[in-house]
């Protein structure tokens, strides 16, 4: 089977970030698909937030019905391509495969899904466009996975949907924030084009400033909020605005989209989440001689998935536990090091996690020429929601889970701004549920 030649926004990245998992060829996909037991009411399908009918699409691969396989995936999850590459399958579909309990390797579901999706895009596959246009219009704010999924589902049901995104390229974190060896920005943009092909309109505009919610309410019957999270949390320590300090999301976005971006020789990453690990791995791939990741707790408490941690060790990232930064050391107006204090874990706090305590007089300094803080994204909404009657609690929008409906019945929400920051597949599931709710509510 032919697949499209790989491309990247920054061509050099093709070499620096070869794919983490090689694609299956058609014969290995056939053999793997034949291993699937075709479970009834399959646990992999239940585990998938978008409930892709996994045995069904795998069976179709085994019969050579590759378009049917891809459509089975896309019917459930319009971002089937990116999900096949970025999903933490170990804790989702593959983690629930019954073969685990039979002393056998689980089915390679992620790569089979990717096989079907690669074939779909290589064959310039299209989805049927709705024949009966609906008179109601829906606005989706934010161009990330939640909005794309919501827009696609509504468009397929005939609604006129406009996605408002403040970035030059739509796709949200799929375009700007995923490690290049997992998902290339160009693949994310192929999915954007698929959504556009369904009739969805994309507008680059900052909602809240360029366009107000009141204006949207005039022009659109419903508004879906797929706002994502805010900028990365600040460390709130001296020196963090010095040149040489770049937060993980900006770091990832820059190397993915800007040619000639130079990484430091000795890089310090601060944080223990998946984004910290993505940034650390990337720094290594971009040519840093040493990459040191510091986390204030230990490997056991690290929020990153275990397989991400394992992979990072192979990449050559060095991990340091129980250390918290207190100052960025600045010399001649550039970051040249980080001062840390050693920590220990005390009694559990109100969130159930053991508190971090500083050990007095334990400060130490590590020289470096680049600091990448990765402390997670803040929860500041860019738009004034409360004045439109939409509640915001602890930086998240509370919704009715099965429908995504907010306190204001004309507004629906999903993705990171609702769930606090989970996976692409969770955002897709939220967006699709909201779309179904809008459609059924409207048609009832």
């Amino acid at each position: 089977m032919s697949s499209e030649p790989a491309s990247a926004l920054v061509p050099q990245n093709l070499e620096r970030f070869p794919e983490l998992h090689p694609a299956l060829n058609s014969q290995s996909a056939l053999a793997e698909s034949n291993r699937c037991l075709f479970c009834f009411d399959a646990p992999c399908t239940v585990a998938c937030p978008t409930h892709i009918d996994v045995p069904r699409f795998i069976k179709k691969i085994s019969t050579g019905n590759l378009r049917g396989s891809a459509l089975t995936i896309l019917d459930a999850n319009i971002l089937g391509l990116s999900c096949s590459r970025v999903c933490p399958v170990d804790v989702l579909c593959e983690g629930s495969c019954v073969l685990h309990r039979y002393n056998q390797k689980p089915i390679d579901i992620g790569r089979l899904q990717r096989f079907a999706m690669d074939h779909f895009y290589a064959a310039k596959g299209t989805l049927p466009v709705a024949k009966t246009p609906h008179r109601e219009r829906v606005a989706c704010i934010g161009g990330g996975p939640a909005s794309l999924a919501c827009a696609a589902e509504l468009a397929r049901r005939g609604y006129a949907v406009t996605i408002f995104d403040n970035r030059a390229l739509p796709g949200g974190l799929n375009t700007y924030g995923v490690a290049e060896y997992k998902l290339r920005a160009t693949d994310s943009l192929r999915e954007v084009e698929l959504v556009r092909s369904l009739g969805v309109e994309f507008r680059q505009a900052e909602v809240g400033s360029a366009v107000s919610l009141e204006e949207l309410e005039r022009d659109f019957a419903f508004v879906f909020l797929g706002l994502g999270l805010g900028a990365m949390e600040r460390m709130s320590i001296p020196g963090e605005d010095a040149p040489g300090v770049i937060d993980a999301l900006r770091f990832i976005e820059t190397y993915k989209t800007v040619a000639g971006f130079a990484v430091g020789r000795r890089v310090i990453v601060i944080g223990g989440g998946n984004t910290a690990i993505d940034a650390a791995n990337a720094a290594k791939r971009l040519g840093a001689e040493e990459v040191h990741l510091f986390y204030r707790r230990t490997a056991k408490e690290m929020p990153a998935f275990p397989f991400e941690y394992d992979h990072s060790k192979i990449e050559g990232v060095r991990f340091h536990w129980l250390a918290q930064p207190t100052e960025i050391v600045v010399h001649y107006d550039r970051a040249v090091g980080v001062r840390f204090v050693q920590t220990r874990l005390g009694e559990p706090g109100h969130d159930g996690r053991r508190r971090v305590e500083h050990i007095p007089d334990s400060g130490f300094e590590i020289p470096c020429d680049m600091v990448i803080p990765a402390l997670g994204q803040n929860r500041q909404m860019g738009v004034q929601l409360r004045e439109r009657g939409i509640a915001v609690e602890h930086g998240a929008i509370p919704v009715d889970r099965p429908t995504g409906r907010t306190a204001n019945p004309r507004y629906f929400a999903g993705g990171d701004c609702v769930n606090g920051g989970r996976e692409v597949v969770d955002a897709v599931a939220d967006g699709k549920r909201a779309a179904v709710a809008i459609a059924t509510r409207n048609e009832a």
């Binding site: 479970c39 999903c87 039979y102 929020p303």
Partner: protein, 451 residues
């Protein structure tokens, strides 16, 4: 140590594994290599007036990623001059005097032609003759092969002609492409045959190229029906062998053919009365070397069972094949599911609901559509250690996914056990009915008092 030496209808060989007449026995060089690998005998690729073959010649059925579950061929008999084949028979027998060389023969249906070929073949040193009344393609259009084997009188007549002058044992190879194979077996026996070989290949079209619409194998845009063999045909061959072996008017020593790939299949043919087995497809697939495990596996199995020779168990399963009307209507088994080993695939559940008797249930006794609807309505979220105190465990099957059998309703059909991918997870267990043996024949004769 089991004794595998064989005397089959007077033909001796060091073991009962013979190569069947076909591409692996095309010439002396091949057959000698086969004997070096351990084969006990070989039936020479059918000798007759040389033919011209087409290309291509074979096609196969793949199943679930496995190649050649079934093989089909449209190759004809030997394309080599008769003298060449006979000269090589002499040479092989000189070098391998203790191995069995059986000449498969097919000539035009005249007494003179048969007398001539039989005499020349025996003079060359063959240990026995196999009359090819089975080849289903090409030769049958010229009045030979299965064209003979499908008419009992012709089979009987030609067997008689051969027996008039043959000095070595004569085997008749039977075609399965006939309504009742026993008719030809009986005819061969009437004609004086010393043994039977069964079965020859089955008429087949293996498949069609969905791009060109040409069936396979493709010979310049056309195809012809061929003869089907390989693992897929074993059940058909076993049944036909049993039919012949159980028929007093047709029973003769039988050389079993059809889907033998290893010692297990061979043992099955012996249990239904065969004295030797013949192998072709498996040797075409993997080479002569497969015979090593056939010999080794059969010997180990026989040792384990305390069997010293094939005659100790040959035909032992024949009394266990009965007509349906003699089966016990009061014998009852039910399915039991081992909750410890069940992996929760629920294939037994859907098989029972859609393909059997709706007596396997999931919690709440929901019908399949309701089970699926309840799952698709569930909201699943990626578990994230930071946000959720969850551990993903592969260890135990969730109890809701382990089905239960309603033993009152279970008819003991075996389907759930057949579809279960886990060995010994579903077992079929006998339950006491307290009723005496009653067959359909008894019930039909004796009224309905026991129903």
């Amino acid at each position: 140590m089991a004794d595998l030496t064989t005397n089959f209808a007077g033909i001796r060989s060091p073991n009962p594994f013979w190569l069947a007449s076909g591409p692996p026995t095309n010439c002396g060089e091949q057959i000698m290599r086969a004997f070096d690998n351990g084969w006990g005998g070989a039936v020479w690729k059918t000798i007759g007036e040389p033919i011209v073959n087409v290309s291509s010649r074979y096609s196969s059925v793949d199943w679930n990623g496995h190649r050649m579950m079934g093989l089909n061929n449209i190759e004809l008999i030997s394309d080599r001059p008769i003298e060449t084949n006979l000269r090589e028979i002499t040479e092989v027998k000189k070098r391998y005097p203790h191995h069995a060389v059986i000449a498969s023969l097919m000539v035009e249906s005249t007494r003179a032609a048969w007398h001539d070929i039989v005499k020349r073949t025996e003079d060359a040193g063959a240990d026995g003759l196999e009359l090819n009344f089975g080849c289903p393609h090409g030769m049958s259009e010229r009045g030979m092969g299965s064209a003979v084997g499908q008419v009992p009188d012709y089979s009987c007549m030609i067997t008689e002609w051969v027996k008039e002058i043959a000095r070595t044992p004569v085997l008749v190879k039977l075609t399965p492409n006939i309504t009742d194979i026993r008719a030809v077996a009986r005819a061969a026996k009437r004609g004086g045959a010393d043994g039977l070989s069964a079965i020859n290949t089955i008429n087949s079209i293996t498949g069609i190229d969905l791009d060109t619409f040409t069936p396979r194998p493709n010979v310049g845009g056309h195809s012809a029906h061929g003869g089907y063999c390989g693992p897929a045909v074993k059940p058909i061959a076993l049944h036909l062998v049993q039919q012949i072996a159980s028929d007093p008017e047709g029973a003769l020593p039988i050389s079993g053919i059809g889907g033998v790939s290893g010692w297990r299949e061979a043992a099955e043919f012996f249990l239904l009365g065969c004295g030797t087995v013949q192998v072709c497809t498996a040797a075409m697939h993997y080479g002569y070397r497969i015979v090593e495990d056939m010999i080794d596996g059969l010997s180990n199995w026989m040792d384990e069972k305390g069997l010293r020779a094939i005659d100790d168990f040959r035909g032992a399963s024949l009394p266990k094949v009965a007509e349906w009307k003699h089966l016990d209507l009061n014998y009852r088994i039910v399915a039991r599911i081992n909750r410890q080993t069940c992996i929760g695939c629920d294939l037994c559940y859907i098989a029972c609901w859609d393909g059997a008797h709706q007596c396997i249930h999931l919690e709440g006794h929901a019908k399949p559509a309701a089970v699926e609807a309840s799952s698709s309505a569930r909201i699943s979220t990626t578990p994230i250690a930071k946000l959720d105190a969850v551990e993903v465990s592969h260890a135990a099957t969730p109890p809701v996914r382990i089905p239960r059998v309603d033993e009152e309703e279970c008819v003991g059909c075996n389907l759930c056990w057949l579809v279960c991918p886990v060995e010994n997870c579903i077992t079929m267990e006998q339950v006491e009915t307290g009723k005496e043996f009653q067959s359909w024949e008894m019930r039909a004769a004796g009224g309905s008092d026991q129903s």
